[in-house]
Symmetry: C2
Subunit: 275 residues, 2 copies
């Protein structure tokens, strides 16, 4: 299985601490030697760094650990290849543009019968089940929502986004029925996290304390790096720290994040619940 | 004016030497302080590194100078902002997927009346004339060629690609009529270079000699880094070296590169010439 790491924050925040623990799983404490990637949304822009080599030995991964890129949303992925060879074109996260926003996608799991998911607007560059499913998912959203439901300002127009989120939840449920589909997805406004088997989250906010990584010998005192209004949520396949409260998501659960807060929650077979 | 750098090679080649001279133009020997980016095509995959800060002080640029990424096609850009603020979303190169290939685009110049170029399949993420023109250009190609004209193997199917290249040349000519439009464009198979005012190229092949950078004190003996069959072409706004033969392109000239060789050449108001 691959490993996923996501972040949603209300102020531009660097992920150096969490990423340091996470990247040790790429051939260090974990078996995920088949590439890694990390994507940052910064002030309306997007960039990602991807490498088809193990993250523990990657000079680019070391740069990212040391160079604080401040971001509202981060998505990262360490790969253990199942479908598709170990090469750059198969390295997550994948991106496509829709509505003038850069969409970013990382998947953990494996799907059956993904080859028959129809492709319309987007075509895979590589040959993974993950990218194929992404192209299908995004084109299906686009078919129903040729434009963004609304601009997002300080106030989230939830009423207008609810039909989109419900559709996204339904599509995730369909993919879960075809195998294992743990998902991180973002468009620069929202971070979507969907759990098929394994995903956990924690929210850091005042009063900030110390956190201790599970995968590397590193402790951080967030009180030294934050202001009292900061809200930073971290989502990962497995909890990254010993001494913080992590909530495990349930199978079929979709969370919509913005600025570190849960905006909406959808669970299997039920109607949405406000966050 | 921005600065462009491109490479087309018949073997995976690193651009460290040329990039070292080039990045000194980003706030060092040149005035281009408003961000930079570089894109690599590697074994069917694509990745780019972009930074909205001056390249001479960028830790990511230093990494790229030191870390040899081997590639068939490279596109790089140093920005001096005219249209659009200095931010990540306005930092070249821009990318979109078409035909299951990642298209990469970098532009030097400034356009008039670009706001009225119609947008269909692709929407800009930032607010530059460059990205708007890219979205228009790619959608227009896609309208006429919903699929790639042919697969590209060792043998380039020139007959099948000729109509595409002619259309591309026509679109470049239209954009040149709206201002200054020096272009580097690639899809992983071909590198396209179009000259509006300034673009020069040189081809390195056996017998390899020494080259000396114009912008930094660095000399390389390519004979120590190459095999006799290597063919590496470098394209830049201004020649990067003192002691190599550079050919300046003429206004309205489009060159199609593959594996370091010119596949086709189109000049203003004339029919195409085989390379």
């Amino acid at each position: 299985m691959c490993e996923l790491l996501g972040m949603s924050a209300n102020v531009p925040t660097d992920i150096c601490f969490s990423f340091t623990g996470f990247l040790h799983r790429g051939g260090g404490t974990g078996p995920h030697r088949d590439g890694w990637g990390i994507a940052f949304y910064e002030a309306g822009g997007y960039r990602d760094f991807r490498d088809p080599h193990p993250s523990v030995r990657s000079p680019i991964a070391r740069l990212i650990s040391d160079y604080p890129i401040k971001s509202h949303i981060v998505i990262s992925h360490i790969r253990q290849a199942n479908v598709g060879g170990v090469r750059l074109a198969n390295t997550h996260p994948f991106t496509r543009e829709m509505w003038g926003r850069t969409w970013c996608y990382a998947h953990n799991g494996q799907l059956e019968g993904w080859q028959t998911l129809p492709l319309v607007d987007y075509q895979p560059v590589g040959d993974t089940d993950s990218e194929h499913a992404f192209c299908w998912l995004l084109a299906t959203l686009r078919e129903h929502f040729p434009r963004a439901p609304a601009d997002v300002t300080d106030e989230v127009p939830k009423e207008q986004y609810l039909p989109l989120w419900q559709l996204l939840h339904g599509l995730c449920e369909q993919l879960r029925s075809q195998g294992v589909f743990n998902l991180l997805l973002a468009d620069g406004e929202f971070l979507y996290t969907y759990c098929s088997t394994k995903l956990a989250h924690t929210t850091r906010r005042a009063p900030f304390g110390k956190a201790e990584l599970s995968d590397a010998e590193l402790t951080i005192n967030f009180a030294e790096h934050t202001t009292p209004d900061d809200v930073v949520s971290v989502i990962a396949t497995e909890p990254l720290t010993h001494n913080e409260a992590w909530t495990r998501m349930e199978p079929g659960e979709l969370l919509v994040w913005r600025h570190g807060h849960i905006q909406a929650r959808f669970v299997s077979g039920s109607s949405p619940m406000a966050g």
